[in-house]
Symmetry: C2
Subunit: 445 residues, 2 copies
């Protein structure tokens, strides 16, 4: 029980997940004398999700968008970080079960976010490349670079094209940003890296099931982003669904096919709630139903925030968008509300303040929708850059990082196209094999 976490007079808040919401909440609580914080996360770092696509395309090194949790909470005596996986929650006993053993809580906050939604398409789960973690982004980078290497040595033009072509599924910000960057690379760094390959043969497809790109954005932004991508030579197919992929051939719902070894899946997310919650609190997309205080329906002292939470407001009848801002804003308010709860004060209702949406299409172009202003092009890109840099500085809290990041981002062409493979420790063979077997089981279910 409670692996080496001391029992104190403070109320123990167990936070599961160190994404945007969990991290913001933990930072706020760490400064309040009422609480002991136990922050549980699978990795020892916070991932800055909006820039995964930069890692996948060798524009930024992974460490530029990862923030070690222990550096964020350096010297905080009332924050206990545990790197482990939560296997379930027992609300009646006020306990979460983890791979390190059970941990009891006074308040539990579920901030587990969302993962790729493959819509139960087994072949796609097995063969497509998702991009919902930094490991997946690195795997994507390795795969694409390795494919160019392989393309040098294959015998037929058909095989070569299959290795070079890329099909991206999902016309949201991730798909649009990825296609824009890939199209830029095709024009600039790739021909210089591979003078033996003819990059006129490399096709980049963007497949979107809806009738427009960047669904929730303004018509203006949708049209501009489409135009920018077409100008960059991306082949965009709207109103098209991917039905199947065998590792080489992508089949669409209209029966048409594309030959590629690279199918990148950015078509949707589903929430990752915890096992042990009553089934009736799970809503659409696997999200946990919460009231305006982020309390989980029918449970006392259990809260959910961010992507995993489904809170409806009049303006948001289907819940908030699954992006950083609602998570951050909920994390901030929940910290104060927990404090109010301890002092028996009245809680404040959450209201989402929509700060706007933006997406970038390559370096130099972006689309920005602010509540009272929409604009596109180079100035939009500068805005995008500025907002993301500020966000990163907000996490890292150091101006120097800002400069380093900007440097890495702007020079971008020379040092990151690395295929780094991790060595499997020989001694741990059996443990590794077990893990693999588990994965196989999972992939078979």
């Amino acid at each position: 029980m409670n692996p080496n976490i001391p029992q104190t007079d403070r109320k123990r808040v167990v936070i599961v997940g160190a994404g945007f919401g969990g991290l913001k909440l933990a930072r706020r609580l760490s400064r309040m004398k009422e609480f002991q914080v136990v922050l549980i996360n699978k990795h020892n770092y916070h991932e800055f999700q909006p820039l995964y696509y930069q890692v996948a395309t060798a524009g930024l090194e992974a460490n530029s968008i990862l923030f070690p949790l222990r550096a964020v909470f350096g010297n905080c005596k009332n924050v206990h970080i545990r790197i482990t996986t939560v296997t379930g929650v027992r609300p009646l006993e006020k306990t979460v079960d983890t791979e390190l053993g059970p941990i009891s809580y006074d308040y539990l906050v579920i901030a587990t976010g969302a993962d790729t939604n493959f819509f139960n398409q087994q072949n796609i789960i097995e063969k497509a490349l998702p991009m919902k973690s930094v490991s997946e982004a690195i795997a994507l980078r390795n795969r694409m670079l390795q494919n160019f290497e392989d393309a040098l040595s294959v015998e037929t033009a058909e095989e070569r094209e299959g290795l070079m072509d890329v099909v991206v599924v999902g016309g949201g910000p991730t798909g649009v940003e990825l296609c824009g960057t890939l199209a830029e690379m095709r024009r600039t760094v790739l021909p210089s890296d591979y003078p033996e390959l003819d990059f006129k043969m490399m096709d980049i497809y963007l497949i979107e099931s809806g009738g427009e790109l960047l669904g929730p954005m303004s018509v203006q932004s949708q049209e501009h982003s489409l135009k920018y991508l077409l100008d960059l030579g991306v082949i965009v197919r709207l109103n098209t669904r991917v039905k199947d992929f065998d590792g080489r051939i992508v089949t669409m719902n209209d029966g048409s096919t594309l030959r590629t070894n690279n199918l990148i899946w950015a078509a949707g997310v589903k929430a990752s709630p915890l096992a042990g919650l009553p089934p009736d609190v799970i809503g659409r997309g696997g999200r946990i139903l919460v009231n305006r205080y982020n309390q989980v329906q029918g449970l006392t002292n259990v809260f959910a925030i961010g992507d995993v939470a489904l809170m409806t407001e009049e303006k948001w009848p289907n819940g908030h968008p699954q992006v950083a801002q609602p998570a951050i804003q909920q994390g901030k308010l929940l910290a104060r509300n927990l404090q109010r709860l301890v002092h028996n004060e009245t809680l404040k209702e959450f209201t989402y303040r929509d700060l706007g949406t933006m997406a970038t299409i390559g370096r130099g172009l972006a689309v920005v929708d602010l509540p009272f202003l929409k604009f596109q092009g180079f100035f939009a890109w500068l805005t995008w850059l500025f907002v993301h840099l500020i966000a990163i500085v907000g996490v890292k809290n150091r101006a120097a990082i800002f400069l380093n990041w900007m440097f890495n981002y702007l020079t971008y062409n020379n040092s990151l196209r690395l295929i780094i493979r991790q060595k499997l420790p020989v001694g741990n063979f059996s443990a590794m094999q077990e893990k693999l077997s588990d994965q196989l089981e999972v992939s078979k279910t």
Copy 2:
């Protein structure tokens, strides 16, 4: 045959290995109109070996010391890079066999370097952590950080200490630099990252079989480096050999034991020659016997340079030290000698110009032996820093990288202590399993 490498009028030089020697040679040859260069390497990057220990201790990110080969040779039409493994050489047929198929050569240059020498101690091969590649350095970083995480949750003080203690075997530059950096981390960043752990319990041992540290350096430097390490609280055991390690207990040749989960093996190297060479050309430490023109004994048109080559000079009866300088100097001269060979000119003999040796012990202290001057301390450290920065700029050829590198190196405390695990692609399970089985076979032989 010759996977998509065009046949031209130029002489084809096949270089195996893109370490210091192979890379220098390839760069020189790429500017000569007489040659077509085929550069074969296992990875798509050159590794700057002297700074592995920085990656292992989270002082530098891997990409700071890796240089993508395709970026180095961007747009070079007469350089053909192939990322593959050479399985053997057939000197009579002037062919090397690779996993991409056989490749014919006019001249072959073996620049395959050296790997960790475990002296055939099976338990140590399986359980110790080597540091002769960037993957191994990352694995070391992951392991040490994970051990600190595990130390938070174990029940007994004994287990906790085993996870925190580190035993480094080998008192060469790698061992000394690693111990110095670890001792610094124990004083600075680790207590801030893990306020729940008591770092007075963390012991750092350096085990050296000889009677002094930094064997080939001056007595002055040896004594200073020992003093620096002792001042930093490293426990140094000279004249001691590690005989066994079961993953938890290290046994020394005097029968004494140490409890640790971290045994880092930096005790020596052995050369990595190619299969298919006549056995009588393999000398001490697996090195290939070459004459003063780097020609392999008894073979025409086959050369070896750098760590894998054993060339004796009057001043170097046992061959040159296995460090960067001989490899670089041999690469430079061999480029000119190959040109002379093509034009039937007389070849020039190689003479090693010893530029000196240096090692750093933490940030701010180093020992430097120049041919006519030996000095230690802070100024030595500035010299060390300057020389390594110049060397890196020499590879990357861009002043901007210099600044970025310096920035990463000097700020060092906030963003790299990441345990990044690569996701195994589910779809490739069987390929991965095969690889694992191969590894198991290897570890059993």
